[in-house]
């Protein structure tokens, strides 16, 4: 069997890259993709720890529910993004500065 630590390293890398994507890209859809990557990394961690735990189903159930919540989040976020595109004509979050100053 492959040791747990390899999966944990991959999950940590995915989380960090997802975070970097979410804070670097100035495009709302790109930021959403970064958040998806982070959620995926957390899922991988849950599944990996579920393998080494005593109750296998618990960790997997957690990541199943995270998956459903991610789907819901993306649906609502894309609806809001389409509305924002209609209103501002751009997807750059820096240009949506109506409440600034």
């Amino acid at each position: 069997m492959i040791p747990t630590s390899f999966f944990l390293v991959i999950a940590a890398l995915l989380f960090a890259i997802g975070f970097a994507v979410a804070i670097t890209k100035k495009n709302l859809i790109m930021m959403l993709m970064g958040v998806e990557l982070m959620l995926n990394a957390v899922n991988l961690n849950f599944v990996t720890f579920a393998r080494s735990g005593s109750i296998v189903a618990e960790g997997q159930l957690f990541s199943l529910f995270i998956m459903v919540i991610a789907a819901a989040e993306v649906a609502v976020a894309l609806a809001i993004i389409l509305k924002l595109k209609d209103k501002y004509g751009t997807l750059n979050p820096d240009k949506m500065d109506e409440l600034k100053n």
Binding site: T4, F19, T48, G53, V56, V68, G89, N92
Partner: protein, 174 residues
């Protein structure tokens, strides 16, 4: 003897699969970070998601691997691509597709520090655990606990999805 050979082959194959899926997951994510094209970024995310599904499979989570591919790849990614297509229409279509990177070196450095810390702590926490062999009745266990102990959460998630369905289509309507 033959049994031992089978065992050896299997372990070798497992390391190969870990290499492929790990490279796919991290490589796709890195491609998403470095690309300037939003649609190519979506393809990088696709690679990463499928590879994470493979890693689920290697961890003995068959049901989750299949739902990863169905929900993430078949649902969320298609939704994101539709979002790209729908926001890239109208008079200012170039602006929606434009991806500007700000402070990409700083955030990469920050991400490296974060990854280092996460790797250190998570490996310290879980690296030395003894591993249980994945049980053969994993899907059955999952279904049983979904229908018995976790049934309230299941129902709440169903209601949440209904609300999201109604809410998203209400928000997005003209």
């Amino acid at each position: 003897m033959e049994d031992w050979m089978n065992q050896l082959d299997w372990a070798w194959l497992q390391w190969l699969a870990l290499g492929i899926f790990g490279f796919g997951a991290v490589g796709g994510a890195l491609y998403l970070f470095f690309t300037k094209n939003i649609l190519y970024g979506a393809y990088g995310l696709l690679t990463s998601l499928i590879s994470v599904g493979g890693l689920f499979l290697m961890n003995g989570a068959e049901f989750l691997a299949v739902s990863q591919i169905m929900v993430y790849v078949g649902g969320i990614l298609i939704l994101i691509m539709f979002g790209i297509m729908l926001s890239a229409k109208g008079e200012k279509k170039e602006d929606a597709l434009k991806v500007v990177n700000v402070n990409s070196l700083v955030s990469l450095l920050f991400a490296a520090v974060m990854a280092g810390g996460l790797i250190f702590y998570s490996v310290k926490m879980g690296g030395s655990r003894s591993l249980a062999e994945p049980s053969a009745e994993q899907v059955q266990d999952l279904g049983m606990s979904l229908m018995t102990t976790q049934v309230l959460v299941l129902e709440l998630v169903g209601v949440l999805l209904l609300i999201v369905l109604i809410g998203a289509s209400y928000i997005a309507k003209k």
